[in-house]
């Protein structure tokens, strides 16, 4: 036992802290905390509108350089071409905003086309409902395996890429049969008809993008998607239905890919079996180039639309130049991807407040 007075001995060496600084000395000051800096504003502007600026720039410059580019016919061709990847990319946007990825859309797109062409012999409604039902089921299965069983999105959707392709081959005698859409049918009209010079596919894509934007920005469900991608833990703790949101985005992605495939079949008058290979990569590229964070939590459907158009215009230009190999397209996409993804990473890092 030691008497407690011991500490009073002259050896006492209680040292005061070096600097009291209770009211936040230099370490706690963050004067920029409440107001965005100009750099921050610029970063956010580039993130949101960068792709649109690039798109406008590319269109304006190439209109001067290639007279054949700035024609109504060419514009119509580019937009119709872009309508289908755009619808697929719309679904992909929702998936990526939740922090996931859907690699199955290319196969599902092809499967939707084949199913629609096959069912079109019974009329418009079956031709739309059958692909939607099957592709929606594939999407929902993806979602359930990812959200409920906790499996990695890329591996689940890679597997369903394979499965959907397998299903497609199974119903086409291993790709030997190509179902044709009856001429002059209402279904064929859906892909080929137009109002005021705009093909139905373009109008459908625009309507879907409008709806998608509304859902994403103006509904509680849309907000939940951002929250799930931004921080799934926080979203759970805030009591948001995280698992349901995940299942739904994969369902939507499957539905949209199937619908795009169906309308594409109507436009081509047949269920082409070898279509859609690598489409998932184009869709992801467009989404990311459009400013959606590949890690989730931020993005917009309008950006995706501009991203799809930008890629379509570049493809068109490569074709215009003629001497260029069409595979420059994916080189450009890949280049864009690296730049955008690395830039996003550094923006995110500079943003971190703690």
């Amino acid at each position: 036992m030691k008497p407690l007075s011991a500490p009073a001995s002259p050896k006492t060496a209680t040292r005061p802290p070096a600097a009291p600084a209770p009211d936040g000395g230099p370490i706690d000051k963050d004067p920029a905390a409440e107001r965005p800096t100009s750099g921050e504003r610029l970063a956010s502007l580039v993130q949101r509108q960068g792709v649109l600026a690039v798109l406008v720039l590319v269109v304006v410059v190439s209109s001067f350089v290639y007279p054949s580019f700035a024609t109504v016919d060419n514009a119509r061709g580019v937009t119709v071409q872009a309508a289908f990847p755009a619808v697929v990319a719309l679904g992909m946007t929702l998936v990526i905003i939740t922090g996931g990825i859907d690699l199955s859309v290319g196969s599902v797109f092809a499967l939707g086309g084949v199913l629609a062409a096959w069912a079109s012999q019974w009329g418009l409604l079956p031709a739309l409902l059958l692909p939607l039902a099957v592709c929606g089921a594939i999407g929902a299965l993806n979602g359930l395996l990812i959200a409920r069983a906790g499996m990695a999105p890329f591996i689940v959707t890679l597997a369903s890429l394979l499965a959907a392709r397998g299903l497609l081959l199974a119903i086409t005698d291993e790709g030997a049969t190509t179902y044709l859409v009856p001429k002059e049918s209402a279904f064929a009209d859906l892909g080929q008809g137009s109002v005021w010079g705009f093909g139905y596919p373009i109008l459908i894509a625009l309507v879907l993008f409008g709806l998608g934007g509304l859902v994403l920005q103006r509904t509680s469900f849309g907000q939940t998607l951002f929250a799930v991608g931004g921080s799934a833990d926080a979203a759970t703790l805030m009591g948001l239905p995280v698992a349901r949101a995940k299942v739904l985005v994969y369902l939507f992605s499957g539905l949209l890919a199937g619908l795009a495939g169906a309308i594409n079949a109507a436009r081509l008058s047949s269920g082409v079996t070898i279509i859609g290979v690598g489409m998932e990569l184009d869709a992801i590229s467009a989404v990311v180039i459009g400013g959606t964070l590949l890690i989730g939590g931020a993005g917009s459907v309008s950006g995706t639309l501009w991203g799809v158009l930008l890629l379509a215009v570049i493809q068109n230009l490569i074709n215009q130049i003629g001497s260029l190999n069409s595979s420059y397209q994916s080189v450009v996409s890949g280049g864009f991807l690296i730049v955008v993804v690395v830039a996003q990473r550094y923006l995110a890092r500079s943003r971190r407040t703690t």
Partner: protein
């Protein structure tokens, strides 16, 4: 004001209270693989009170909070909200029932705007069912203005300071129809001005008869705003009562599980009696270690052959200091010198090369590689030295492993057993062996005996003693106050990320340590005076709750 009422044992049935119980836990237990996180815990939260929940690491506070907020389901026991039994399957249901929570780490979505974060999941909608952003922004701005925060609610959350983010979390928690607000260390990242705002908000909540469960390690705050306190330790309920009835010394004693009486300097632990031969010149010197919100100009010296204890309550910056010394935590400022040579841009690899080894606090997350064998876990850091041209030499490895398995008495079926299958004590010994086989000059031990059985604990303690005798400089961090006092030649006490005092020679004793731990602001001048307590084994009378507590701690 809280009803002045004697502390009732929480295990008793419904207690007579002037204010009705709004939330009650009865005999709640929760087990995780290998740990009993909560063991038959009961406590009551009354309407309109601010109730402190305190305890050291592993006491079960966060588990209890998670049970109350629906994150975990209890294994047994029941929850009653306003007298009705509740079963929360997920956080959403707890929130629906009126229990909202502010977490220590801001649990909001950084990329979304302030207003969206506040209203996530219950956005105001227009007649068309679409979100009415104008109204949302207006309401958000109004809510925040009530907290003295003026920010554009359209700004993304991540562009705000952490303190402001915490205020947004508070706004979210309060804006739901909450009956209970749980606050888990809400002030850990707040500026003093923001703390005042928070306290004002808590005052408002009290007037609205909303109960607040307040978790904090800052004595000043507890005594300033809380009516009652519940102490947990090792997953068990220790005490519930009016805060005015117990002083700081008693409270800290309960948290640490120590009586407020001096114990023998040497006896219970396995540390040797004699002090160590301490070298004159320090082998490691650190000055002005500073990291925003975590460390504030921490300085210390370590000499060869001594065990320097690093004391402090949870959140005082002990682990951060150790990590900074080991190059595993980036510093905003500060200098570290090893054997006279300054270390620049420290990384773990450089610190290890300089002879500093850190046994991290979290054995599972930062220590063992569970899928690898005992042998491989031991040689992990020393692998390059035990290899020739990049090819592993089993013979050299086996020799080292054999030496250390014998010396530390590691109980494994063979060196090839997976380390994940060992007991906690043996895992810890494996980690010690990993560092010892590097022959370090400085050994930083962060909670080396936590969660390991008594036998292994004694062995580890004896080993620490032995190592110091062999001339190693040891830094010992321990929440076990007995271990700290008996094992250390000298103790530096941290509080709020800064050095609050140092005990040398005969001062190294439990009661002096408790005094410094429990002490309050103002830190600079008073520390020197207060660390020299008056006589008597009972705690010196401290300023009772409710009295003006002066300034906040620096952190």
């Amino acid at each position: 004001m809280a009803p002045p009422e004697a502390a009732a044992p929480a295990t008793a049935g419904p207690e007579p209270a002037t204010a009705p119980a709004v939330l009650e836990a009865r005999g709640v237990s929760k087990r995780f693989p290998g740990v009993v996180a909560l063991d038959d815990v009961s406590f009551t939260l009354r309407a309109g009170e601010t109730h402190a929940l305190v305890g050291e690491n592993g006491a079960g506070k966060s588990t209890l909070i998670k049970v109350l907020t629906g994150v975990h389901r209890p294994d047994s026991g029941e929850l009653l909200l306003a007298g009705r039994q509740m079963h929360f399957a997920r956080p959403f249901e707890a929130q629906q029932a009126g229990i909202s929570t502010i977490y220590q780490e801001v649990n909001l979505v950084p990329l979304m705007s302030v207003a969206r974060n506040i209203f996530l999941g219950r956005e105001p909608t227009s007649r068309l069912g679409l979100i009415d952003f104008a109204r949302m922004h207006r309401e958000a701005a109004g809510l925040l203005a009530g907290f003295g925060v003026r920010v554009d609610p359209r700004r993304p959350l991540h562009t705000l300071g952490v303190g402001t983010q915490q205020m947004v979390a508070l706004a979210r928690a309060v804006s739901v129809e909450a009956r209970v607000v749980v606050m888990d260390e809400p002030t850990s990242s707040l500026e003093p001005r923001e703390v005042e705002t928070l306290f004002r908000v808590i005052g408002d909540l009290r007037r609205q008869n909303i109960a607040v469960l307040y978790v904090s390690h800052r004595m000043d705050e507890l005594y300033r705003i809380c009516d009652r306190v519940t102490v947990l330790r090792d997953g068990r309920h220790i005490h519930t009562g009016d805060l005015a009835d117990i002083d700081r010394m008693q409270l800290v004693s309960m948290m640490l599980g120590r009586e407020v009486t001096e114990v023998r300097r040497h006896g219970v632990t396995a540390f040797g009696d004699e002090g160590h031969d301490v070298a004159r010149t320090p082998v490691l010197t650190a000055t002005g270690l500073t990291r925003r919100h975590q460390l504030d100009a921490v300085g210390l010296e370590l000499h060869a052959g001594e065990v320097l204890g690093l004391g402090g309550l949870l959140g005082s910056g002990r682990s951060e200091t150790a990590k900074a010394l080991a190059g595993a935590l980036a510093l905003d400022a500060g200098e570290i010198t090893v054997a006279g040579r300054p270390m620049r841009r420290t990384t773990s690899a450089r610190a290890i090369r300089a002879g500093i080894s850190l046994l991290p606090e979290d054995r599972k997350a930062e220590g063992i590689v569970p899928g690898l064998s005992v042998r491989e876990n031991i040689v992990l850091a020393a692998m390059p030295r035990l290899s020739r041209a990049g090819i592993v030499s089993r013979r050299r490895q086996d020799r080292i492993v054999d030496i250390f398995m014998k010396r530390l008495r590691i109980k494994a079926s063979s060196p090839e057993q997976q380390v994940g299958e060992l007991s906690g004590g043996n895992q810890q010994k494996v980690l010690l062996a990993r560092w010892l086989c590097l022959e370090p000059k400085v050994l930083l031990l962060d909670e080396p005996t936590r969660g390991i059985d008594v036998g292994a604990k004694a062995e580890v303690q004896a080993l620490i003693d032995e190592l110091a005798q062999e001339g190693l400089a040891v830094l010992l961090i321990s929440s076990d106050i007995e271990e700290l006092v008996e094992g250390s030649d000298r103790i530096v006490v941290l509080r709020g990320g800064a050095v609050a005092g140092e005990l040398t020679g005969d001062q190294v004793g439990e009661s002096t340590l408790l005094q410094v731990l429990a002490d309050h602001a103002p830190p600079a001048a008073a520390d020197a005076a207060d660390a020299v307590p008056g006589p008597g084994t009972e705690a010196a009378p401290h300023i009772p709750a409710g009295a003006p507590a002066g300034k906040e701690d620096p952190r």
